[in-house]
């Protein structure tokens, strides 16, 4: 479960300051599917990065299962990301020189598993996204939808509790978008994940259990900035 209190992120560029998040309060329950919408530049991606421990807030606390991500150093955050958090990006972010299976396997490198277990988990993850026969293909040899499936396999291969997706269907056509969202929904249910999706697409947001709106660095539920723990499904 995430508990965010007064989360603020201010970027400084020379004399200029940009307030990306202005005191976000929110509770995201375990196994919840939350969609975050809002105009470009209002803090959606910043919030997702803070939830994932990719960045630290200027002020406020972010508790993930009781541990404050805001107070952790980079090494501690790396361990949390390695064990508990899976990421999916709009541009897939697969490593172009590596076959699909190796791309997926990279997510297991920090966990210290032996090779046999790594390979078994990779095979299982690729099977779960329907790409067993594409294991040796390079990203450039795959369609956009297939690349996003590999990215999903990479995010889930370590069996995280949280899956964070930043515009996961932003680069896909409608049919592929529906396939990917259907797959994410299935994995969310089967694996009892906490799923947070940032999206501009109302069709995607409509599939989530709850939708928040980012406006001027604040996260609003039903038009208010309440943490809304009582709104959880």
């Amino acid at each position: 479960m995430y508990t965010l209190t007064g989360v603020t992120r201010i970027y400084r560029k020379g004399r200029e300051t940009v307030t990306a998040l202005a005191g976000v309060d929110a509770v995201i329950a375990d196994r919840e599917w939350l969609a975050i919408q809002g105009p470009t530049g209002h803090g959606k991606t910043t919030l997702l990065q803070l939830l994932g421990g990719l960045d630290r807030p200027t002020a406020g606390t972010i508790l993930l299962d009781g541990k404050n991500l805001a107070a952790m150093n980079e090494a501690e955050l790396a361990r949390v990301r390695a064990a508990s958090i899976g990421f999916i990006f709009q541009t897939f972010n697969l490593i172009a020189t590596l076959p699909a299976a190796v791309n997926v396997e990279l997510a297991l490198a920090p966990l210290g598993l032996d090779a046999a277990e790594r390979h078994a988990r990779v095979a299982q993850a690729l099977d779960a996204v329907g790409l067993t026969n594409r294991a040796r293909h390079l990203p450039a040899e795959l369609s956009g939808g297939q690349q996003q499936r590999v990215a999903i396999a990479r995010a889930l291969v370590k069996e995280p509790t949280v899956l964070l997706a930043d515009e996961p269907t932003g680069n896909l056509d409608e049919t592929t978008r529906d396939d990917i969202i259907g797959l994410l929904e299935k994995l969310w249910r089967d694996r009892r994940l906490t799923l947070v999706i940032v999206t501009h697409d109302s069709t995607v947001a409509a599939r989530a259990q709850r939708t928040g709106q980012m406006r001027d660095g604040r996260l609003l539920f039903n038009g208010t900035a309440a943490a809304a723990s009582d709104e959880q499904p």
Binding site: Q49, G52, L54, D55, E74, A75, A78, R79, V80, R81, A82, A83, I85, F87, F89, N93, I95, A96, T97, L98, P99, V102, E105, L106, A107, L108, A109, P110, L111, G112, L113, D114, A115, R118, R154, K158
Partner: protein
């Protein structure tokens, strides 16, 4: 099997694919280093050969000159010319090595800069700063070692070529009037006309090879460390926001 060993297996798989798909860049870096190392070995061998030839010539002149003052004057002139050539060779070698390291460092940094987003992705997957650093250093070291070893081979070949093509110098000695050669005198001995052949060869010294190898590998690792430091110091969020 230990965690370290397992990490290494995956790391080497990563390295193998990287080198296979970015071979042109690895080749350019390795070639740059190889040229630097080869030049150091060849030029040092040639300088060493020049010094040996000088010593041989001085020895002949010492025998041939009728007075120690003349021998000293002639020897000094030869030594100066030879010293200048050797110094020039040393500077050429240093310049070549510096240029090749700068070339390797620039290519390494350019590669890391292009791959910032990739390293950001690795960090998002939970790779630590240490893991990313070691990966970059492993890749750089592999290219550096290959380039350095190729440079040693080319350096030996260059020195062999210089020895084969190097001229055999001749020190001509004319007997001074009034000086009679002794019955046992050899050509070039006091009072005895003659030509003393001075063979030029470029011997490769183990010390120079060791120095070139050390500098080649250390230089590459330094460039890799610089690249790794640049890659590792970026926050994952910043790295992921890079275009490319």
């Amino acid at each position: 099997m230990s965690r370290g060993t397992e990490d290494r297996t995956l790391r080497l798989t990563y390295l193998r694919h990287e080198l296979r798909h970015r071979w042109w860049q690895a080749l350019a870096t390795a070639a740059g280093l190889a040229v630097g190392v080869a030049l150091v070995i060849t030029v040092s061998a040639a300088a060493s050969g020049t010094r040996a030839a000088q010593a041989q010539a001085l020895d002949s002149l010492g025998h041939a000159a009728s007075s120690s003052a003349a021998a000293s004057e002639i020897g000094g002139a030869v030594a100066t010319a030879s010293g200048l050539a050797a110094d020039l060779g040393t500077w050429v070698a240093v310049a070549a090595l510096t240029a090749s390291f700068a070339f390797a460092a620039l290519l390494t940094l350019a590669s890391v800069t292009r791959r910032v987003r990739e390293f950001g992705t690795l960090k998002a997957l939970g790779w630590s700063v240490r893991m990313v650093t070691v990966q970059v250093l492993t890749e750089t070291a592999a290219v550096g070692i290959a380039g350095t070893l190729a440079g040693v081979a080319f350096g030996y070949a260059g020195a062999t070529l210089v020895s084969a093509l190097g001229p055999t110098l001749t020190v001509n000695v004319t007997a001074l009037p009034g000086v009679s050669p002794s019955p046992s005198a050899v050509p070039g001995a006091p009072g005895h006309d003659g030509a003393v052949p001075v063979h030029f060869s470029a011997p490769v010294s183990a010390g120079i090879v060791a120095l070139a190898v050390t500098l080649g590998i250390l230089g590459t690792l330094l460039a890799g460390a610089l690249g790794a430091w640049r890659a590792a110091r970026l926050s994952p969020a910043t790295a992921l926001s890079q275009i490319g």
